[in-house]
């Protein structure tokens, strides 16, 4: 595996090969969560956060997914101040994205 540092100053998304993740920034966490709903592929990054802040609700079918469960399918991340890094497979390409072309 390889660790890479990403400049996320303006980015909202990260692509690891064909899989895209959206950045969810909180006071105590910076998470990369999958943009695709595991149910029917809805745009999870466009979903609202539940009242308790623990889940993301897919805008297509209103399914709620706990962030802690979504995170289990996400790459490991470290953010120290404004430096952000992740770890991907040796041959995988990982790039920050300003927006997702699918929803341009």
């Amino acid at each position: 595996m390889k660790a890479i540092r990403l400049n996320l100053t303006d980015a909202n998304y990260v692509a690891v090969e064909d899989t895209t993740y959206f950045l969810k920034r909180h006071t105590y966490s910076t998470q990369l969560l999958p943009t695709t709903c595991p149910h029917r592929g809805g745009p999870l990054h466009m979903g609202e956060t539940s009242g308790d802040g623990q889940s993301v609700i897919c805008p297509w079918h209103d399914n709620a997914y706990k962030v802690c469960n979504l995170e289990k399918k996400s790459p490991p991340t470290v953010r120290v101040r404004n430096q952000f890094s992740t770890v991907v497979g040796d041959t995988q390409r990982c790039v920050p994205l300003l927006k997702l072309s699918r929803y341009d």
Binding site: S74, P75, T77, V80, V87
Partner: protein, 459 residues
């Protein structure tokens, strides 16, 4: 019963009156009282400006932009005392044992007050790390190794800023001695925090931790003990080797490094954070001590033994390897990936604290080098703003070194005093002279005339 004042909007916590009482009781100890000198002659004297103690340090949480505040330094000083009441110190010849001071330092009721406020001080001092260091996502053994290898590789390939700062200082010997002063608070009781983790029964891990500890302690041979080798180096440099002789000159950043290791070691639930931090420090010391040794050789030639740094650049290669191969990897295999976020957190938190302490050291060396320019700057600023405070002190009155959260104009109106920036640097300021003190820079004063009036003005 609740303390009556809500002390911070962003911290919905009230200090219990019993906590405030414990803080007051703890701060009243003779060990912290006003000294006669900037240097202590006993391990049981730790002047800490108790007059500055406020409930802020037990009822709020420091933010990362408040690290220059005097309360940060004060809280670090108190917390190190609380931790060090668990350790045994005795004076070395020619200093005599003051039995009364010894007993007072270890007084059980006083220690109990310290234990009561310890979690609150830890929260005040280290809670901000949670906002600055985020560990998320799904970790496995391989991703842990990939991440930490990358960080360590970057450290190995980077040029030594410390070497550059020390050797290019206007006064390299003074800069090197100030660096050693910052090391002394930790190195003279080296690995004491580590010792907190070798009791109990963690199976094979207890033995692995013990092996690292006995290296640090010289296998029971005093002259091989790392703290003894460090003492010899201090003597070569014409410095005092007595524990906490330079207590008043430790920066908050230096104290935060020592205290962090006690913090994650004294709270055994943070064992994996400790292991991660220990891995970072052992693996990087193997690299950075080479540069430290080289800087000392460049500055002092053969007159100073660099055995301390040379020993670490050798043995810490082993310690870094042992931490990874004998502790971290087997622990992840045995306990699962759930321990990895704590391991990475400790690794990253200590890295950040080390970077902050390094920057603080470099800023102090720059301030020492540019003290004359700051005196000239004071003359330019004098009279431009109304003064914030006017103080009159009697002869021999000493202000224990402290810091301010903003640049400050210090100006003597009548009398004379010695303005002390480091053990190696003081200037006598007479009436009509002053200095601009940059924020976060340690400084103290001692009046040398029958009385002295000076003003301070925030810039």
């Amino acid at each position: 019963m609740l303390w009556t004042t809500k002390l911070s909007d962003d911290a919905p916590h009230f200090a219990l009156s019993s906590d405030a009482e414990a803080l007051t009781h703890y701060g009243d100890a003779p060990a912290f009282a006003q000294p006669r000198s900037f240097y202590t002659n006993s391990p049981f004297q730790r002047p800490s400006r108790p007059q500055d103690i406020s409930d802020v340090i037990i009822s709020t949480r420091l933010t990362s932009d408040q690290l220059s505040d005097s309360q940060h330094l004060l809280a670090q000083r108190l917390l190190l005392n609380i931790y060090e009441q668990d350790l045994v110190f005795l004076p070395k010849p020619p200093m005599e044992l003051d039995l009364k001071a010894f007993k007072q330092f270890y007084d059980p009721e006083h220690a109990a007050s310290g234990k009561k406020i310890r979690p609150l001080l830890e929260q005040y001092l280290y809670d901000w790390l949670k906002q600055e260091v985020h560990i998320n996502g799904s970790w496995c053994l391989d991703s842990f190794v990939a991440h930490t290898d990358k960080v360590l590789e970057e450290v190995a390939q980077s040029e030594s800023r410390l070497h550059q700062v020390l050797t290019t200082s206007r006064n390299p010997e003074r800069a090197a001695r100030f660096f050693m002063t910052q090391c002394a608070g930790d190195f003279l009781s080296e690995a004491s925090a580590m010792a907190r983790n070798v009791l109990g029964n963690c199976g094979v891990y207890t033995s692995e931790l013990f092996k690292i500890l006995i290296d640090e302690y010289g296998y029971g041979v005093d002259k091989k003990k790392h703290s003894t080798i460090f003492e010899d180096m201090l003597k070569d440099m014409g410095m005092s080797h007595h524990v906490h002789h330079y207590w008043q000159f430790y920066t908050a950043g230096s104290l935060s490094l020592t205290n962090y290791f006690h913090y994650v070691s004294a709270n055994h639930g943070e064992l994996f954070r400790y292991i991660g931090a220990m891995y970072y420090t052992e693996a990087t010391l193997a690299l950075t001590t080479k540069h430290q040794s080289s800087a000392i050789k460049t500055i002092f030639g053969d007159s100073v033994s660099t055995d301390y740094f040379d020993e670490h650049s050798h043995i810490d290669v082993h310690h870094g390897r042992m931490a990874l191969q004998r502790l971290i990897l087997p622990m992840i295999k045995q306990f699962g990936s759930k321990i990895i976020p704590d391991l990475v957190r400790g690794f990253e938190e200590f890295r950040l604290l080390q970077d902050i302490a390094d920057e603080e050291l470099y800023a102090h060396i720059k301030w020492h080098d540019e003290l004359d320019e700051h005196r000239a700057l004071a003359a330019a600023h004098h009279g431009q703003k109304p003064v914030d405070l006017r103080i009159t002190e009697a002869e021999h009155e000493l202000s224990v070194p402290h810091t301010h959260p903003n640049d400050e104009l210090f100006w003597v109106e009548t009398g004379e005093l010695d303005f002390v920036a480091s053990p190696e640097l003081s200037v006598r300021l007479k009436a009509g002279e002053g200095v601009v003190i940059p924020k976060g820079m340690l400084h103290g004063t001692r009046v040398v005339s029958p009385s002295c009036t000076y003003t301070v003005t925030a810039l």
